[in-house]
Amino acid sequence: MAMQVEFVSPEDIMYSGEGTQVTARTRGGGEIAFLTGHEPFIGSLVPCEVRVSETSGDVKRFAVRGGFVSVNGSKVTVLSDAAVHAADVDAAQAQADLVDAEAALEADPSDPEAKIGVQWANARLAAVGSGTGHATDH
């Protein structure tokens, strides 16, 4: 049985489709995959790549800067104020952001903005299929 998958941004519903599996990364819980029949779940997301395996066999990839994932019955909803489709990711920009954010983190390892910046840049690179992906987990 397929799950209804929705990506909801503040401005609109940016993606809606049927999938068999959704993978995301929650704060404190690490990588988590949802299959049909998952228990009701609400998680707070860290910047990560979210993969949706569609019923057609395609895998849709998104980069998410943060937000929430809610699983209820056969419905998975990703709420995010900053999510981009992998096709819309500017890899060069993400790479540049990664360098900047890593430099900022180097200068001040406790800077939360820099840490999120690194994760967000990695998430975007992971979504387009280049870079370190989930290797960096601060």
Partner: protein, 316 residues
């Protein structure tokens, strides 16, 4: 000078016609923008609905944490007003209604000895309050007819800064609610502190069947702490979208009224112009007849009559 009044009226009619063209164009533009703004408000609804849905589930999960955004103060003395109106005028009472109700709130607060600061959203709001030397904390503008989430986030961030730092005890949001195409009204809403989670959940009115046995990660409290700032942003964004739709609806109405008035004025002026022309012609004929009579020797009656007919044909 005969014909002078007519010329002046003709020029005025021309100028009113031009004005009418402009107001008509603005009316049509506003009409399409209302539709688009409504569309955007509708598209944005799922996000805030889903956020409220999560809050409902959290409330059912027993999460009622101590979050800075929920901090209630006993004696409210310092209040920040987020006043949302437009960047441009020509929208009927749209800007003035918001500004007036903001001013009323501020006066009432000051009468009670309270302290206020204004976050002005829209150039007109900033103009009004800075001209009158009100205490403006920050001003935003340039996007009121088509706000993006980023705009809302920038304002929400400043609001949270003020509230988190304890510089204000309460934040009021003043904007125009879009009730329907025909009705919009300026409203004053409590923005911060947020209501307790259980109250938010009740107001959300989501389906109770969904409220069972959720597990949370990292924890119910942790999710809530992440969620409340997003909720603040979403609420502000909703208000901005409502305000934008209201602005366009008000502008459409104001421009329709202006177009109707111009039409009426054109009819009135055309009548006056026709009368003036007729009067000028009559005067001219009278002058010619008078002149011809004065010149004639009284013998050539027939010749004179022919002459007059020719003259009449010429003048008309």
């Amino acid at each position: 000078m005969p014909g002078g009044a007519e010329r002046i009226l003709r020029r005025r009619i021309g100028s009113v016609k031009n004005t009418k063209k402009i107001t008509r164009a603005m009316e049509l533009i506003a009409a399409t923008r209302v539709a688009r703004a409504q569309q955007r408000a509708k598209a944005a609804r799922p996000y805030s609905e889903q956020l409220t849905g999560v809050i409902e589930n959290l409330a059912a999960g027993g999460a009622d944490v101590d979050h800075p955004l929920l901090r209630q103060v006993e004696n409210v003395e310092r209040v920040a007003f987020v006043v949302c109106a437009g960047d441009r005028g020509l929208a009927g009472p749209y800007n003035s209604a918001v500004v007036r109700s903001a001013e009323r709130e501020i006066q009432a607060l000051r009468a009670d000895g309270g302290d206020y600061r204004i976050l002005a959203v829209g150039k007109k709001v900033n103009d009004y309050f800075s001209f009158r030397n009100y205490n403006i904390d920050s001003a935003y503008g340039g996007f009121t007819d088509n706000p993006t989430f980023e705009d809302a986030r920038a304002i929400a961030q400043r609001v949270r800064e003020l509230f988190d730092a304890g510089e204000v005890d309460q934040v009021e949001l003043i904007y125009t609610e879009f009730v329907s195409l025909g009705t919009q009204r300026a409203v004053v809403r409590r923005f911060l502190p947020l209501e307790p989670v259980t109250v938010m959940a009740e107001e959300g009115g989501g389906d109770a069947a969904a409220l069972a046995g959720f597990s949370f990660e990292p924890s119910a409290g942790g999710v809530l702490a992440d969620l409340l700032p997003r909720y603040v942003e979403a609420r502000l964004f909703t208000a901005l979208l409502d305000a934008a739709a209201s602005e366009h609806a008000n502008r459409q109405r104001a421009m329709k009224a202006a177009t109707d008035n111009a039409e009426e004025l054109i009819v009135k002026l055309s009548r006056a112009m026709n009368r003036a022309r007729q009067e000028a012609i009559t005067t001219e004929i009278m002058e010619i007849v008078g002149g011809a009579e004065a010149l004639g020797d009284g013998s050539g009656d027939e010749a004179e009559a022919v002459d007059l007919e020719r003259l009449l044909a010429q003048t008309n």
